[in-house]
Amino acid sequence: MKATNKMTAVIAPVIAVILIVLVWEIAVKAAQIPEKLLPAPTVIFHALVKNFPSVISKDLVISLKSIAIGYAMAVPIGFVIAAVCSQFKLVVRAVTPVLIILMVTPMTTLVPIFKLFWGADTFLKLVVIVLQMAPVVALNSLTGFANPPKSNVDVMKAMGCGMWTTFFKVALPNALPQVFTGLKLGCILGTIASMVADMAVGQGGLGYRIMIYASFASTASAFATILVAAAVGVLLFQLVSAVERLLTAWN
């Protein structure tokens, strides 16, 4: 029973994707839609095979680098902000709405302003990615840290534990599910932010490559690059989910 469930869980979405691709292919061919407007999946696949090794792969590396460095900076920043703020009830109240505002603000809109001071370089992309990721990591972690189960906190009090021991032994493990929600949202928002930053800043990256292909009306190659960008998002998300499953095995 369980095995069949697992099989269907894998097979069902695969069939769905195959169906969509098939319909797309047939529809494009049947309606004779110009390739420049909407290329058929087979055409996109050809473009991918042709352009990936020499061009798209280089942009992929640039994007992965900026997302990874951004993540490596944003996660500790968001985490520490949440950990410190969570220790003071009043601060939690004050900081939460600020974090929400920061989270929903598209940070890429700051690029034109930042450009005035720093010029267009990769550092600017990092700033945008970190600004976009850190608030969502901080907000979700903070929500988790703010209300540790009272009964478990009492056990710590009975052992004479201070605020930070209690944090690491109760609040943190208890909040892991929320922390990981933040980390997963962070990698999605960070991926999007990096693509848009590529477009606004230049200097390579998948977003930049999509823009270039589009401006030369190489629609199939643009779609091929979008495919790679989507794969990046999915893979990062899966990676974080795998770490989550590893750390919350007790659940």
């Binding site: 056990v155 009975a158 032994k169 919350t248 007790w250």
Partner: protein
Amino acid sequence: MQPIITLEHLGKQYITKRQTITALDDVNMRFYPGELVSIVGPSGCGKSTIIRMIDDIIKPSSGTITVNGTVYDNQKPISRDMIRRLGFIFQIPNLYPWLTVRQNVTLPLEIMELNDSAHGEYADQLLNMIHLSDYANSYPREISGGMSQRIGVIRGMVHQPDILMMDEPFGALDDETREQLNLELLNIWRETGMTIIFITHNVEEAVLLSQRVYVMASHPGRVTADIKIEFDGPRTLDLINDPKFAAYCNQLETMIGKIELDQIV
């Protein structure tokens, strides 16, 4: 002999959004070294509140607590070294869902940096005593409520405290397990010479275990009697057939019953 714990004019008010509850009013108690004392009384009379204050989980509103000659009150907290000489067993197990059974039990050792093998062996010995050695690596969600309760009990004493406070530790267990653990507790108490404060609803349990019983009444929570329990023979289950046992039980039962009747009238 000097008492190891003295409570003087202890009062506690809980201030909630809707009302102020006087949980305790002018409670005076003394506990002598090596004594096993029970506190009985109707639900809500403030039994848990008393030991939570002794263990510095909550602060008293008035009065003082003296443990081992050190006074603390709502201004002055207990020292960390002192609190580690105390053990506390909660009314509900309060296990950590992300730790295995054994990790839950040894958490106090980890926190108090008692990482030597002797303490680890003691933890295993206690696990064996409650028949849960086979579950050492299970997670709390995989075990029953009664099992969790027993784990909570041994976690409170794994660091070998001088004073052990037990808040209805066997309340959720079946009679057989309860009897067995009562006897184990008496063994541990004799071997270690701990001072034990034992809270229970069950008067038979109180009479079987204790040298003294404090009876409490509620609204506001206060002490109404301090009864010495004395038997000629050793504390075993045979005592149940001793006429004195029944007499003590009756005495306590009527005191608690009368208190409850008074409140209804």
